[in-house]
Amino acid sequence: MGRIINVENISKNFGDFQALKGVSLDVSVGERVVICGPSGSGKSTLIRCINGLEEHQTGTIEVDGVLLDQSANSLSMIKSKIGMVFQQFNLFPHLTVMENLTLGPIRARKMRKSDAVDLAMEYLERVRIPEQANKYPVQLSGGQQQRVAIARSLCMEPTIILFDEPTSALDPEMIKEVLEVMTELATSGMTMICVTHETGFARNVADKMVFMDCGEIVETAKPDKFFTNPDSQRCQEFLDKILHH
């Protein structure tokens, strides 16, 4: 499998606070990476740097052969390859579900409206809510909103999709429906990086587990080894906390 993301020794500061301290990460085509770690450990910052939402200060990020250098050209090429799903969904509240899904394809991918609508319907069916197409986001449950958000990123037909704690803002009974959609996506061969604490999901789909703490990657392992016998003390302590409350 070819390498699609290459993060090399990147650092990122917010004022005096060092969010990332020399992080390196490789992701292959079709690989599913799950990143976990305590809050403030830099997990979100890492994936937000990969799609250019945050600007890193040192190190290099290369996505599918394109070096991310903050020039408009490289940024727009990288944006078009990467989809992202947020903890707070970030749907456009003034637009219907269908308009949320077709805005990107029509404006950024220059698709005809009718083609964009067909594409959106296809993905709405994949996330199992085609009947909600003409509703506004506020009329949907949290789980449905997050599935719309997933469909919205898929409509851009990215090669990589990033999940930033996609289930953390959801009620427990809605987590399952979102995880099912994510699992299905994982089995379809999409390259995924998920920041999540859903250990069941991680065990099922992850090819690689990454544990971060204090802005560093502390441990990288296969899920079997990661959950049963991690090398580092810090990782073991973290797992103890999230596995037995």
Binding site: K79, S80, Q88, F92, H94, A108, R152
Partner: protein, 244 residues
């Protein structure tokens, strides 16, 4: 005690008026009264036209001035602050006089009364519009920009389809206020001779010597006009929904 006090005030007011009221100048049952009323109402055309053209220009200019304020670039933010502070500091009446009498000399152009009034009103209002838009845009959640980024929208599309529709819904009540304010401020352009409501009233006062009656009609004209506009703005707010 209170009733007595009110009664005394009424008595004084009415006694002052008794015999001195000259409602005949605007009495709709006489020919002269009708002519005068039509003359007063004919100012409505320029009052509405001036206000509407001025508010449209000031909204566009206000929006253009508001956008640099949201930039990370200090120089661009400085341009916004400079404009807002300078324009906000000049009284409207002074601006009207300057644009009408001063600007033609400075710029070597001729401006008619209508455009002088419109430009002065729009300029003065644009600083306030800019502040309203800035507040509205800043109230939109950061996540909306991030979501736009991830679906590859450029800056203009992000503003046009995502941020501004939400910002404008939120500032609609404030924009409605500005429209009402503009209608009232348009009375000031009477000083340069625009034939709007106030100017017409002034001219009638000069010929009829009945300021009390004529200006009372003028008050009622503005009152009715603005109540109608307020109701319209209310209706628009309900239709668009403040946060749908």
């Amino acid at each position: 005690m209170q009733k007595l006090f009110i009664a005394i005030i009424f008595t004084i007011l009415l006694s002052g008026c008794s015999g001195n009221w000259g409602w005949y100048v605007v009495n709709p049952t006489t020919d002269g009264g009708i002519t005068n009323l039509i003359f007063l109402l004919s100012g409505l055309y320029y009052t509405i036209l001036t206000s509407v053209v001025a508010i449209v220009i000031s909204i566009v200019v206000g929006l253009i001035i508001a956008l640099p304020a949201l930039s990370k670039n200090r120089f661009l933010r400085g341009i916004n602050r400079f404009y807002v502070e300078i324009v906000r500091a000049v009284p409207i009446l002074v601006l009207i006089l300057w644009v009408y009498y001063g600007l033609p000399q400075v710029a070597g152009i001729t401006i008619d009364v209508f455009w002088a009034g419109v430009i002065a009103l729009a300029l003065s209002d644009s600083a306030f519009e800019a502040e309203i838009f800035r507040a509205g845009i800043q109230s939109v959640d950061k996540g909306q920009y991030e979501a736009s980024h991830t679906i590859s929208l450029n800056y203009i599309d992000t503003m046009r389809f995502v941020i501004l529709p939400q910002a404008i819904r939120r500032v609609l009540p404030a924009l409605g206020n500005q429209l009402v304010y503009m209608l009232k401020m348009s009375s000031l352009v009477s000083v340069i001779g625009m034939q709007e409501l106030t100017r017409k009233a002034n001219e009638l006062v000069v010929t009829e010597y009945r300021p009390l009656e004529v200006y009372t009609i003028l008050v009622l004209e503005y009152l009715v006009l603005i109540l109608i506009v307020s109701a319209g703005v209310r209706w628009l707010e309900n239709r668009l929904g403040t946060d749908k």
